[in-house]
């Protein structure tokens, strides 16, 4: 049943889309293999939603080529709709229907798929079966939206910002569900602006900014691409004296040093050797440390090193 992983589930070439004078997507290429979870990571306004909605056949591109499951929207729209599961970013399902009624409605549109009750169990909403949609919490609503995307037993699942606005517990619960589908061999394309979500869920990532893909690879590859596995952050009491950054950069294992008003960020490989050397150098320069912390490099650090901005910058 699982398609061989050589056939692409989704292929996008040179996609462009502009709204009035805003260019939302400025020429991107994507390849999603069958069975993988592919993530579009980027800040708000990067063009993620436009891209995913073009793939979903809801928005027409200005130019470029989109092939979904080997089919095209222009000729096979009806066939494609039967095989896709879609969760949109801001759908409000009808408040007056119950959870079960909503699922049964969505199930009626598909030729095949699991019974609504089974999907309900899958997203752990059995006890809310007869509750009105208006009575659900944010996390429960999002799980219902996910269930609506699953009633057609899709070959390809599109999730647009599935955990935006949820509290940490609800996010983790949704991640667990998505992990389950991954294990079942489903193909997923998801967008997110949470780097931890991308790192946790995605096999392959494309980092988007200003309508372009600025980096792609597995999360591990992307993190390795900045040439450092750890980041060291130091606060110093310099009493007006600048730290000699060049001396710091000469230390073995230090890849990059950024200093800003007594706050130093150091990208380092081989923390066990680089950190003692950094501390020695600070001692030599007679700099007093007030705080020190280290963390493993994350996708956030990748984004910052690529764009100089943070993902969550408004």
């Amino acid at each position: 049943m699982a398609a061989p992983s050589s056939t692409p589930a989704l292929r996008v070439a040179n996609l462009r889309k502009a709204y009035k004078d805003v260019v939302a997507v400025a020429g991107i290429d994507l390849d999603v293999r069958a069975g993988e979870c592919f993530g579009l990571l980027g800040p708000n306004g990067a063009g993620k939603t436009t891209t995913i909605e073009i793939c979903e056949g809801l928005t027409a591109p200005d130019s470029g080529d989109v092939e979904v499951l080997g089919l095209r929207w222009s000729s096979d729209a009806q066939k494609l709709r039967q095989r896709l599961g879609i969760q949109l970013q801001e759908t409000q399902l009808s408040d007056k229907l119950t959870v079960f009624e909503t699922l049964r409605l969505f199930r009626s549109f598909f030729e095949r798929g699991p019974a609504p009750t089974d999907v309900l169990a899958l997203v752990q909403l059995e006890e809310k079966r007869d509750a009105r949609v208006s009575a659900l919490s944010g996390g429960q609503k999002q799980r219902l939206a996910l269930a609506c995307a699953l009633v057609g037993d899709p070959d390809l699942l599109f999730l647009d910002e599935p955990t935006t606005g949820l509290d940490p517990q609800a996010r983790r619960q949704l991640w667990d569900l998505i992990e389950e589908f991954k294990k079942a061999g489903r193909t997923i394309l998801l967008t997110t602006h949470y780097m931890d979500e991308a790192e946790q869920l995605c096999d392959t990532l494309a980092i988007m900014d200003h309508g372009k893909v600025i980096a792609r690879g597995t999360p591990a590859e992307l993190i390795a691409s900045i040439g450092a596995d750890h980041l060291v952050e130091l606060s110093t009491a310099t009493r007006g004296r600048a730290v000699d950054l060049d001396a710091m950069r000469r230390i073995a294992g230090v890849r990059e040093v950024r200093g800003d008003d007594g706050l130093l960020t150091i990208h380092a490989a081989g923390l066990h050797q680089a950190l003692p050397a950094v501390l020695d150098e600070l001692h030599r320069q007679d700099i007093t440390l007030t705080e020190l912390s280290t963390h493993s490099a994350t996708l956030e650090d990748v984004f910052v090193s690529l764009t100089g901005r943070h993902l969550r910058d408004e």
Partner: protein, 357 residues
Amino acid sequence: MSERSPATQRSSSPQTWIDHPLVQLTLVRVREFTREPEAVFWALFFPILITAGLGVAFRSRPAEVLKVAASSPAIVQALRQEPTLDVAERPGPEALTLLRTGKVALVAEPGPAGTVLYRYDDTNPEGRTARMLADRAVQRAAGRADPVPTADEILREPGSRYIDFLVPGLVGLGIMSNTLWGLGFSIVDSRRRKLTKRLIATPMSRTYYLLSYLVWRMIVLVVEVGVPIGFGALAFGVPVRGSLLDLTILCVLASLAFSALALLIASRARTIEAVSGLMNLAQVPMWILSGVFFSAQRFPDVVQPFISALPLTALIDALRAHMLQGAGLSELAPQLAVLGAWLVVCFTLALKFFRWR
């Protein structure tokens, strides 16, 4: 039951008729309506309230007694011979005040040289009637005899009273406003919530989506028409002289025509405010011109062709002809043609312009 992963199963649950998408979509319409108590109230009980209220206000009363005033005892005595006049004796200035404030329809007072002076407003039908009755009483008191003896036979037939005129008007008004508001709000609310966009992301047929609204209106129509007509018949004896089948065909066609108009009005709007404005714009001319509460014939001849082309005029004219005169479908052909034209034109345009996302 064996343990299986629902995520990978490809089961097809048994499909019964109730799992047909059109049935499911229609159920959504019905549920959204019945779970909104206010909507049910306005759609069903409001027509009853208004029929009852107006029916009582305009009920057939015994021949009206007109209030008049006179300033001289002689004239008062003459007028009191007329049983349909209620005569008050008042000094001249006080009587005039009563006339000016509308408390009496006419003031009679002695004029120079044995004449009688009537003061009244000739644009007021009551004033003119009072003038005739008062003059007859004054002349008879002075000795006039009628050369031809006459007799009266009073006929008050159901079908020619105001309430008979009113009920078909209210039924037509109800079909129009329920259909326009019900459909318009529901469609725009679903679009505003991005629910329409979510639905077209599934394999759902767009035709079924629009059809579900029409089917829902057909269901509500039974109550919407049945309740006011039934109430009119029970409470006031308003007749339904045409056949029930013809009435059904007429109401179904009218409901479809107004549904198509509602789809067109709601085809682009993104907010409730926007669609409300458009709904009012479409309905106000018909509230005024289509003859709900009074005959549309009162408007000037030049606008009559325009008035006849309005769907509500066509519906109400046809309902009155059917209920009061027992007209059949062939006699209602012009009105049915108007409604059919609105249905075809509006539905075609709505399909073309409808904003799905």
